[in-house]
């Protein structure tokens, strides 16, 4: 057959046209890596959670890739350090959506950044899973692409309130927050919920976390007759000063509240180890030692497998477990939906019921994107941290 110049030109143009229309795309798409974007505040203030998540993510990505990937496709984790700055988080989100064209995004990991990035991801229909607690970040109508795989602040609040009222059986509580936006909002919500449940909120206040002496606030709470103090603050300095002031007053009132009450930083600031007794912080069943000192079977099996590969000394176990879970979840979403199309991934996530993750059993539906079960949120003894896990607070069966 003689190939004329016109025939060659037409043929080449047709081939180019087909290629550009995506006729050959499936074959290419089936072999390209699964690109997962990871937006974390890895440096700067509030970087501790992202560092913990990062350890879990990298462990899981290495494990999936070492086992041959997801139907032959490797996972490519694309990380951007947002430094806790919403502007940097927005820029990184735009880059991931427009330039890198990732298939799903994990993060950001703090609510201030997520408030800025969530609408952008929603416009791009980007599958997004995050662990941020602010309630308004989850709205299946406004943000059908966004899924939360950690408790919301309401769920923390429920766990704290239930512990005070049903297990400690106190009737008079003091509720305090720091002067940040989070502290003010969380304390306000907590006061409203306690009152709704019939508790007597004998004292509520915002405390300046930098004030060196917490005796005045502690005295007011004591004089008001508080039987438990509920604290909503991320400040470890404020927590330690409150505990020291409680000891100076010879008052054994229990503290219940935000996870920062159990931060290792608090342990370095208290004047005596005993000052940290009777402090109960938000924790999770999957990361709690029972009365026999044992972790749940699933968690222990993971720790045995990952022993020596993940440093747990200076982090919280739930951060690491969430990082592992999100990679395994997205891997399954790609495998089950048959590709990396955002519609397929979102449809898969919307159909999950009691998915057995390491951190918890996740359930999402088209109308409910808060995936973490409230009954797995428990209180832990703040001063009992070992490898990022805590002893269950007294009173749980």
């Amino acid at each position: 057959m003689i190939i004329s110049r016109r025939g060659f030109t037409l043929g080449a143009a047709s081939a180019f046209g087909l290629a550009s229309q995506g006729a050959f795309k499936p074959a290419f798409a089936q072999s390209e890596p699964i690109k997962i974007g990871w937006l974390g505040a890895l440096t700067g203030p509030s970087s501790a959670p992202a560092i913990g998540f990062d350890r879990g993510l990298r462990y899981a990505v290495d494990a999936v890739n070492a086992s041959g990937g997801v139907k032959g496709r490797k996972i490519d984790l694309i990380t951007r350090d947002t430094q806790g700055d919403p502007t940097k988080a927005v820029n990184a989100t735009q880059e991931m959506i427009s330039s890198i064209k990732v298939h799903a995004i994990w993060g950001p990991t703090n609510s201030g950044e997520a408030l800025a990035t969530t609408p952008i991801m929603a416009r791009a229909k980007m599958p997004n899973i995050h662990p941020c607690v602010v309630n308004s970040l989850i709205d299946p109508v406004k943000y059908p692409n966004a899924f939360r795989m950690a408790p919301s602040n309401s769920q923390w609040d429920d766990a704290v309130r239930n512990y005070c009222l049903k297990i400690l059986k106190v009737k008079k509580v003091a509720v305090i927050g720091d002067t940040t936006g989070y502290g003010t909002t969380a304390a306000g919500d907590s006061v409203a919920a306690f009152k709704k449940d019939g508790a007597d909120v004998v004292y509520s206040a915002q405390i300046d976390a930098t004030q060196p002496d917490m005796t005045p606030d502690m005295l007011r709470m004591k004089n008001a007759g508080a039987e438990a103090i509920v604290s909503w603050s991320t400040s470890t300095g404020m927590a330690a000063r409150l505990f020291n002031a409680r000891a100076a007053l010879n008052w054994d009132v229990p503290f219940v509240g935000h996870p920062s009450l159990g931060s290792g930083e608090v342990g370095k600031l208290i004047e005596k180890p005993a000052n940290w007794d009777k402090v109960y912080t938000v924790n999770y069943r999957s990361c709690s030692f029972d009365a026999q000192g044992k972790l749940p079977e699933r968690t222990q099996a993971f720790l045995d497998k990952a022993s020596g590969k993940i440093d747990l000394k200076d982090t919280l176990l739930w951060w690491v477990l969430s990082g592992v879970d999100v990679i395994e979840l997205l891997s399954k979403a790609v495998a089950e939906s048959g590709g990396t199309a955002s519609e397929g991934i979102i449809k898969y996530l919307n159909g999950l019921s009691k998915y057995p993750g390491l951190f918890g059993d996740y359930t999402w539906s088209p109308t409910q994107h808060n995936g973490y079960p409230t009954d797995e949120v428990v209180m832990g003894a703040a001063n009992s941290s070992k490898d990022g896990a805590l002893n269950l607070a007294p009173g749980y069966g």
Binding site: D213, T215, G237
Partner: protein
């Protein structure tokens, strides 16, 4: 806690914090006296006193005396760097108040570097002597002792030493001082080093109370400025009285109305005092002879 205990607590914490504010006020004054510049690095020097003290003693494990000396030397060096980088380049155009930007920029840099290299969480400061408990704990009286020593030292220096008198001459009229042959530039550098050491001492003596925390810098900048304004710019005795009064009033307000309202109360009184005495409680309006 009985009324007596409450009063003792107000006095102990109030005087201790007041002494720290007063020392930061003195830091502002010393830098101002030789340069006519209000340097916003004053509070950061206080913060560094706590952070470096903790760094040398807890992280590096140095004993008290080397840790203390190294902290003061490091803060004195930061004082000199302030003069070189943020003050000297803008002295020719003092009327444009560029020093506000230059010293504020340097203060922010110090704060950010500390946040990145040290920690964004408060860190422990070591027990220095292990003396006292309750309201007589050393964390309450150490800042007061430091404040008294600084005042005594400054008085002695200004009355009995040539350098002290030269400082006074430059503070009074730097053109005349230069005409008399005094090394005005070197004296200014020396005054910034001295201010740095005093700021560092404030942070070191108050470290057990305020902890080693990068955010203390902004707080001390703010509350350290109040005694300067109350006591009159350049008046060290006024700063001491203003600082101690501020500390006691702030702590009393903490007991009476609570943390965030206490800050409001402090600044309401501050504004009222300045409206009534614009030169400060101890400031003098000096007339210039012609």
């Amino acid at each position: 806690m009985a009324l007596g205990g409450t009063l003792a607590s107000i006095l102990a914490t109030g005087l201790a914090m007041g002494a720290i504010y007063a020392l930061i006020g003195v830091t502002y004054n010393i830098m101002f006296s030789t340069s006519r510049v209000m340097s916003f690095t004053a509070g950061q020097l206080g913060m560094l006193g706590g952070v470096l003290g903790s760094f040398f003693m807890l992280r590096l494990g140095l004993p008290l005396i080397p840790g203390f000396v190294l902290t003061l030397v490091a803060c004195a060096v930061i004082g000199i760097v302030t003069e070189l980088l943020a003050v000297r380049p803008v002295l020719k155009s003092l009327d444009q108040h560029l020093y506000v930007l230059s010293t504020l920029a340097l203060a922010l840099m110090i704060q950010q570097v500390t946040a990145i290299e040290w920690s964004t969480e408060p860190q422990a400061f070591p027990r220095l002597f292990g003396l006292g408990s309750g309201v007589l704990d050393e964390k309450f009286w150490l800042p007061i002792v430091a404040c008294a020593l600084v005042i005594a030292g400054l008085e002695w220096m200004q009355r009995a030493t040539l350098v002290g008198r030269a400082f006074l001459a430059v503070a009074e009229d730097n053109f005349a001082a230069r005409a008399l042959g005094l090394p005005e530039r070197n004296l200014r550098v020396l005054s910034y080093a001295l201010a740095g050491a005093i700021g560092g001492l404030a942070g070191f003596a108050g470290g057990e109370l305020m902890l080693a925390f990068f955010a203390n810098g902004a707080l001390l900048n703010f509350y350290g400025f109040v005694p300067v304004a109350l006591g009159g710019l350049g008046n060290n005795r006024g700063s001491i009285v203003g600082g101690l009064a501020l500390g006691i009033f702030q702590q009393a307000a903490n007991f009476l109305v609570g943390g965030i309202f206490a800050s409001v109360a402090v600044f309401v009184v501050f504004i009222v005092v300045l409206l009534a005495w614009p030169q400060g409680l101890f400031g003098l309006s000096t007339g210039r002879r012609v």
